[in-house]
Amino acid sequence: MTQIHKCGLCKKEFDSEEKYVAHTCPETGVTPADPENLGPEFAAVSEAALKRGEERKVAAEGGKKKK
């Protein structure tokens, strides 16, 4: 049975996940692969998480060097 993939934002339907991920959603102006597709909050949270991860990595590397 064919699975239908439906965009929850623009409601367009696709016959494959690849086509869904590749479409530019008119509601957001970007594709679902873009963090902006999930709204500015998700993008900001992602960015902050990456920053925290980098800081943790730097701190861990600093700790190793001290040894």
Binding site: Y20, D34, L38
Partner: protein, 170 residues
């Protein structure tokens, strides 16, 4: 450097329509995404339609891995009776990937664990049928199945929050 892009998807219907990037997990007496709970309330002593949802990585960005999936609910189910929120999510004796079937309002095999009310100590939703599974590229988790049962004393309405958590490795 960019973080992974992750959405929650839900499957509905006989032919499996997978709606991507859902905006809520309202549950009720209709098999539909973003259920309207006012129009489709749960009668006392019945079950909601089961929800089949999954965590979908649409783009892994520059990360190398997504794993350690945890799902739980925060907030009470409501007053006036004894209500249960059941799921296939579990930290031990995981039953493998839950197969999709047209959502029903009856009990579903394997969807019999109490939904955690706080963050589980370890993964409770699998990837590729295993709790230690991981995504290293775009892809999805196993289906999370969950359903609420009410008893005869149930009164109208409650609001709680579903939480979906993952680890992302740079």
């Amino acid at each position: 450097m960019s973080a992974a892009t992750v959405e929650i998807d839900e499957a509905n219907g006989a032919g499996e329509t997978l709606t991507h990037n859902i905006t809520n997990s309202n549950m009720g007496s209709a098999d539909e995404v973003n259920t309207d709970p006012v129009a489709n309330p749960i009668a006392p002593n019945t079950r909601t339609y089961i929800k089949y949802q999954k965590i979908h990585v649409t783009n892994i960005g520059t990360s190398s891995k997504i794993d350690n999936l945890k799902v739980w609910r925060t907030g009470a189910l409501g007053t006036g009776g004894t209500h249960t929120h059941v799921t296939n999510a579990r930290t031990t004796s995981y039953g493998g990937a839950l197969s999709y079937a047209q959502p029903v309002r009856t009990a579903v095999t394997g969807v019999d664990q109490t939904m955690p009310s706080s963050v589980p100590a370890s993964a409770n939703l699998g990837i590729g049928g295993a709790l230690n599974g991981a995504l290293t590229a775009a892809g999805s988790s196993d289906y999370l199945g969950h359903q609420i049962t009410t008893d005869a004393s149930a009164t109208a309405g409650s609001t709680s929050t579903m939480n979906y958590q993952y680890d992302e490795t740079a």
